[in-house]
Symmetry: D2
Subunit: 345 residues, 4 copies
């Protein structure tokens, strides 16, 4: 059996999650893990059968045995590591967003293209079976020409204010997933956005310069309209819904719940709240995204979520932020684009 040897850069929550999921793929061998501090990771690494643990990610890039790296370090390091990894001829799985700066992202993607390595960006929701089915229904024409897209995306609780400060803001940190989902299910580019935001959940988020509630309308290249609403706090759990409405009908993906049990009493009829947060809701999607990445490498196929997907979501996020600040619609074409507009990967 052909095998892929991988290294993990950054062993925080998401890095460890990828390790666990990669362990279930027979064709993958995890050889190395790097993090800025590694002492506390010794036991964890050995329990996972990881032989190399280093505080220098460059050790992974210079290791000729390593075929691919997973970049799970902080966002402000992504672009630089992508470039170095690409130049070292490693295939790359990079967490979203590629960077906080569209320019940096473009630069990184250019190197990826030059070096001819594969780059998959971690928009895990593309691998959720519900949203995947909505996309398929749209592509198969089941709802006809799309007219309206609606995405609801609300977290169960806000992150810490420290996180908010370094997050790049709601549009870049949270809604970027929805911008990617919009492109994914509609199979059409966003050409204009108009954003409204508010601080309704926690004043401290506002003091940190961000919003916690937002509604963004989208105009697509195919003429359709769309709307995304975000909240940092839905007390009933992770609210993740997508609807595409078109000339022949609508496809709607509802929330997922732990059980199907319904309880009827004198007080009313109740069912489970949605699955709590992304780790619960997207368990299978996280497994699927690394499985598909492995498959793309083994079979030399295109990845399902490429560098250009990362870039376009960032451009939309940047436009949304600008629209929120100026109070006016912003065309995506006014946001920098990779020169030649080829689909980068």
């Amino acid at each position: 059996m052909k095998k892929i040897t991988v290294g993990i850069i950054g062993a925080g929550r998401i890095g460890k999650l990828h390790v666990d999921n990669l362990l279930s793929i027979p064709e993958i061998q995890i050889k190395s893990v790097s993090d800025v501090v590694v002492n506390h990771l010794q036991e964890w690494a050995s329990s996972k059968g990881i032989s190399v643990l280093t505080d220098n990610y460059k050790d992974l890039l210079t290791d000729p045995e390593i075929d691919a790296v997973f970049i799970c370090s902080p966002t402000n390091t992504h672009a630089q590591i992508i470039k170095e990894a690409a130049r070292a001829k490693k295939h790359i799985f990079c967490e979203k967003p590629v960077s906080f700066s569209v320019e940096e992202t473009i630069e990184a993607l250019k190197v990826v293209e030059e070096e001819g390595v594969k780059l998959q960006v971690g928009f895990n929701r593309r691998f959720d079976p519900n949203f995947k089915k909505v996309r398929e229904l749209v592509q198969q024409g089941e709802v006809g020409q799309p007219h309206i897209l609606k995405i609801t995306s609300r977290d169960p609780e806000p992150p810490s204010v420290e996180y908010v400060r370094s997050s790049g803001g709601l549009f870049m940190d949270m809604m970027i997933h929805d911008f990617d989902m919009a492109r994914y299910v509609m199979n059409s580019e966003v050409v204009e956005v108009s954003a409204r935001g508010a601080v309704l959940v926690d004043p401290a988020i506002g003091e940190a310069g961000d919003v916690d509630t937002a509604i963004v309308t989208l105009t697509f290249a195919n003429g359709a309209l769309g709307v995304i609403d975000n909240s940092r706090q839905a007390v009933y759990g992770y609210d993740q819904r997508v609807e595409v409405f078109g000339a022949k009908g609508a496809a709607t993906a509802d929330n997922c719940r732990p059980t199907t049990v319904e309880v009827s009493t004198a007080e009313g009829v109740s069912k489970d709240k949605p699955l709590y947060f992304f780790l619960e809701r997207y368990t299978q999607a996280y497994i699927e995204e690394v499985t598909q990445f492995a498959k793309a490498l083994l079979e030399n196929q295109e990845v399902i979520c490429c560098g250009n997907d990362g870039l376009q979501a960032e451009r939309i996020a940047k436009a949304a932020k600008e629209s929120f600040v100026t109070g006016r619609p912003v065309k995506i074409e006014h946001i920098e684009q990779a020169e030649d507009k080829v689909v980068l990967n």
Copy 2:
């Protein structure tokens, strides 16, 4: 416009309900109402534009202007009044059950047949749009050859013990609706029943000689099996569900609720309880059954729920009671039947 003049025999809850519903049918004129005591009904009758109020139902039968009577008096008077009304050439709408005695019912139906008048029995649930649709799907072959019927029928609260004592018992008073529903949606006769009953809601019901909880299995002439469960008390409201499962699929009618509103909070996700009881759930069905009765008279068509339907439901109820008492299955053919087994009406 052709008009039908009707008289109402018995102005209790159900009699008054029929009056209100008949008032909305332009082709119907309510001329007379009889009850054993009428003084307290004067104001009500005049507000409804009813010109004759009498304590003798025979006054209605001798009135040549009256085309049809609604028999809403206590069950033990039904058979006798049916016979007298039929002999007076009045068309008849009779509340369920036709009588507590299959022999009496057969005798009454014989007179109806001899006189050639129409008789509709008040199995209102046949006119519920949900169950009607299940029947239509079965008849159209959408679920294929029927294999299994399931009926759940639970009241929100038990009647008074006095009512229980004179009710004829759960099988004759409550489950008789479900026996009719079974024949209606399956479009096949019940040939055998096996009943289990228990006193779980209120010991006083047991002391009155009845059960408050029961499960009855049915075997149909077409080979299918069925099951009905009844409870005198579902604290969450009137639970009325029907499912037909067959070779090509299943059709399921769920409960109806006041609104479609769903509330999601930190405690859970809740929706409305089922509509409280028969007056709420079957509002439209009660209107539809008298509308269809009027139509059958005006257009000289067959009624949707005829005397034989009343008879067969009673035979099944009697068999169920016998099965409950003996602990053994009982074949319906062992219960008396009208001699010639023609469909009586």
Copy 3:
């Protein structure tokens, strides 16, 4: 019993619907109907027991027996008739919108106020039990401080292009219902709107100068955000949903369907489409709105949907149209308002 004598101005579809619903209210007597042409209405009027049929609505205003008029004539006549009716001391039920011009509406409301008559505007959806429950839940604080409002409102099929031409446009003709719903369920004024529109259903609508698909975001006085999406054609039926999301949870009103029947076959699991259109979906709401109007007159209470409600919805619609044309957000305060901003009624 106190009685109210009413006259109907305009016997088109909605006028006739009101007649039927009013006939079921014992305290109401319909004396007169006016329309521009009346010959074809003779039989209909007599079948409804209406004694006066005239081609001049002024006949109703000069009739001292008439307490209240229902203005069901074309929109461009509403404001004028309101003023005349108010000066004739008639109470008024007026179909939506009050006029196509905010100035005219303000002028009409001023006369209503001066004359001290009651004016109810025909936003029938306020009387739908589902939306009423959402409002109550919001008012009772069940969802906490509101953060996001979402309204989906899609018609099953577009009106004729002739209708579109004289309709005042999608924002004034169709979305005005949703603007009123937004104020109703949120119990807060809209302060700003931002509109996007498109011609996706039928190019002829675009040629008539209108859009058939639109998304409008709203900012409320209480800080909340909202979004409304409209389409002139949902092939699966009348799509009418409302969601209020807040600090303590969410309340969602889903579509209503003819039955609860679910059919499971080898092809899939299916249920009924939403009720077809407004006559089916809002049957009870239309009855309830005239019942509540009658009650407001009989008990001298405030109407549930007053003149100011009509005015505010029009101001939002006007702002939305301006936003669509200019591509920029529009503040409602820039749209004319009644001078003294008292709640007009």
Copy 4:
């Protein structure tokens, strides 16, 4: 870390499934696999890291390194292997049913008890989160004293007639799962059953001496009533529902579906069929049952589904078969029981 070394007896579909699930439990090491023919299993075994492959299960029982065995061989070998494994002091996970003969099962359990080893029976559905939640709600008193249990259990397609012939019949092969579920969610013993069966799916099943459709009513020690319906063929997929109705309400577990996507078109509104069959529906339950077995061994706790659970389900199945044949209710106490009625494990 404490480790458990296991051997698998029988490498058919279910044996291989357990191997895959056991591989995901760090505390488990699979050392050996036996089957009657092993040549074709070489590659599979080595890919799973299994070092010993033998055609004699006794090799596993004599291996002192092996702590526990999984008995996945044909049912008619279960009882014998259980006895031998117990005498070899191996803990045992045995697929259901323990045997086709209540006497043999009792004998096997006696040896298990004497030797003091743990025995878990493979009623996988106990580990389904939906049914587990129903049981918890019942135990916590959320539905009050239970009155009615309803279980629907229908396979998507019938097994081969060969399988049917050696299956022990529908009551022992298929409904036995539901008998166990009945005891599990009601937390009460079944005291009487009454069975009805029919051949409606495939005459060949009838010719093989079995039924393909059945309804069984149950009476519980706590006074409650219950009903189970089974079909060998639900064309829309694996139909697995449970409802417990009681004095304070009802808890209902519905089917699970691949996605939450709903599609609305001019033809209707459709959603996914239930997950196809047990491998899809009970994926997690199969993992959970072996995880819990491992936990019971590691922490020396009681297993969740013990030998007595296997025995009681068999007794009910035997009674159901007898009831079906005789047409009469059968009391479970008339079926053999382990002498001392202690809870065997």
